[in-house]
């Protein structure tokens, strides 16, 4: 059985298009220092550092953890760098937790980041590969056809995505760290925005952000001594499937369903909508909310959009299962960090530490990340109580 571990410190940077005021080292250190301060710890208290980020071509540096060891107080300690494409922020948190859950370490620091303004993320994602057709016009171009198939299957009305885009930006307006601050956004404004990859409009897509997120994860014994309430890690799971195989359901991938089933089993969750108080879910394009509501078992197949339209996932509408109260990926997307931000924001909720986007009395929350061709999943459940 895994040892119990908890998050006792969380630190983030302000997310923005370009952090021109800090180097990459400065960016990660800012998040790390914030996390240490939140945990009331010093660099010397940390036994190991686990770093995660997405493809190195987003900044143009190979294996940047080698250069960041000074900034992260890691000299003389073990350092690991995880890379699982878009889900990396989540997998990094899970790998960091495993350092403590395995009984190997008592107190670790984990940081996920992306300073994608330094290179060109769209180029790195669409870099022409020899011997392949060069038809990739960004991640949205990959996901739009899948969304179209969801719309066909579910017969969802055209404006479900628009509703999600508005909801997440209104949530983001409660979060001073969020990149996109759009407190006055309306359904009409989103509908009128430029159609990029039909059916995805500009305002239904995530921004490109610089940012970093850090957490301090400790053993049960040390967590009970920490000054602020810990977020107990009640379950963690990862699943991968290939990008392409015959009969693959790209709309609701099996790997996502299996991963959710695993993490729910660990956390004793049988009815996610009722048992969880809120969720931070990786939704980079609006329609992924109804799709993930189904994939994660919050709604029956074909009915995720009904949950969205009912306002159930909206903090502002008093929904019973708010999703992405932080504003989610639709408000801030430093790609390598986005997964960890989901995990960290879930932890903030159950610590009662989410400020103006707090879900009242939240005790159990889900953090979710996915990546690649919707093929890599990492998820965790955190709680205010040990069990």
């Amino acid at each position: 059985m895994a040892n119990l571990a908890a998050v006792v410190g969380i630190g983030q940077t302000k997310y923005t298009t370009k952090r021109g005021d800090v180097s990459i080292a400065g960016l990660v250190r800012e998040a790390a220092v914030n996390a240490l301060q939140d945990a009331d710890l010093t660099w010397d208290d940390i036994e190991a550092v686990i770093v995660g980020k997405a493809p190195d071509m987003f900044e143009g540096i190979i294996m940047p953890e080698a250069y960041l060891t000074d900034a992260l107080g890691c000299n003389g300690k073990p350092m690991l760098r995880v890379h699982t494409a878009g889900s990396v922020g989540g997998s990094t948190a899970l790998v960091a937790a495993s350092h403590v859950q395995s009984g190997t370490f008592k107190r670790v620091l984990t940081v996920a980041f992306e300073k994608q303004s330094e290179s060109n993320a769209m180029w790195a994602l669409s870099n022409p590969q020899p011997f392949s057709t060069h038809l990739n016009a960004g991640a949205g171009g990959y996901f739009a056809p899948i969304i179209r198939e969801y719309m066909r299957r579910s017969k969802a009305p055209y404006n479900v995505g628009i509703k999600v885009a508005v909801k997440d930006r209104l949530h983001g307006a409660r979060n001073p760290l969020a990149h996109l601050q759009k407190p006055d956004i309306t359904m009409q404004e989103v509908e009128d925005s430029f159609m990029l990859w039909d059916p995805l409009r500009f305002l239904e897509s995530c921004p490109s952000s610089d940012g970093a997120c850090a957490m301090v994860i400790v053993s049960e014994e040390l967590a009970t001594k920490s000054p602020k309430p810990p977020a107990w890690i009640r379950g963690g799971a990862m699943r991968s499937e290939p990008t392409m195989y015959a009969g693959r359901d790209e709309v609701s991938p099996q790997a996502g369903r299996d991963c959710a089933a695993d993490v729910y089993k660990q956390a004793g969750i049988t009815n996610p909508r009722k048992d969880l108080d809120c969720a931070e879910v990786y939704v980079p394009f609006s329609w992924y909310e109804p799709m993930w509501l189904e994939n994660l078992g919050f709604a029956p197949e074909g009915e995720g959009w009904k949950l969205t339209m009912s306002g159930a996932t909206s903090l502002d509408e008093g929904g019973d299962i708010p999703w992405n109260c932080s504003g989610g990926v639709l408000c801030s997307n430093p790609i390598g960090a986005s997964g960890m931000i989901r995990f960290a924001e879930a932890a903030r909720q159950v610590r009662g530490d989410a400020g103006a986007h707090q879900v009242e009395g939240a005790k159990l929350a889900l953090g979710h990340a996915y990546g690649g061709g919707a093929q890599f999943y990492s998820m965790w459940v955190v709680g205010a109580h040990k069990s």
Binding site: G20, D21, G60, M122, W123, S126, P128, Q129, P130, F131, S132, T133, H134, L135, N136, A137, G138, G141, A144, P145, I146, R148, E149, R152, F194, M195, L196, W197, D198, P199, L200, P242, T243, M244, Y245, A246, G247, R248
Partner: protein, 171 residues
């Protein structure tokens, strides 16, 4: 030289790396065939799924694929999107259709362009046909097919997309 030094906040450090790419064995066979105007896939010896373009393995079974299968250059639209932004370094003008197409005889889709069509009329299940470049321009590239255009054949029911034999609907 002035006493006040300009604070340097950024440097431009271009990265220029040269790579000599080789196609894998499976891709080499595929490209050799397409240079002759033939679209091919490879079949998994275990589950019989036909992959296009082939990468040398069946991803589901984790075994090597060897058997080459000739596919039709007719396909079915599995899904699509209308793109309004250009592709970096590609001369194509927006708005254009990128579609996931399953050629007859294959069980997975590849992406390609569609043209000679009204964008708003494109739909899932639609039948399309490859429009090739002139033979004199054929090279080791999928781009030998300029795009796919709609043809006058009945739509494929959604549950049969990716399951048609090489002879198409009638087969």
């Amino acid at each position: 030289m002035s006493d006040e030094q300009e604070v340097i906040t950024a440097i431009k450090a271009p990265v220029f790396l040269k790579y000599n790419f080789t196609a894998g064995k499976a891709a080499t066979r595929f490209l050799a065939q397409i240079k002759k105007g033939v679209l091919t896939g490879q079949r998994c010896p275990k589950c019989a799924a036909v992959f296009v373009p082939p990468r040398g393995s069946c991803a589901a079974c984790g075994v090597a694929t060897e058997e080459e299968v000739v596919l039709a250059d007719k396909a079915t639209v599995q899904s699509f999107t209308i793109v309004s932004i250009p592709i970096p370094n590609n001369p194509i003008q927006p708005p254009y259709i990128i579609a996931n197409l399953v050629p007859d005889g294959a069980n997975v889709s590849f992406i390609h362009l569609m043209s000679e069509c009204v964008n708003e009329d494109i739909h899932i299940g639609q039948r399309v046909q490859a429009v090739w470049k002139p033979q004199a321009e054929w090279d080791y590239a999928m781009a030998n097919i300029r795009y796919f255009k709609p043809i006058d054949e009945p739509d494929v029911p959604v549950d049969r997309i990716g399951k048609l034999p090489v002879t198409g609907l009638e087969g």
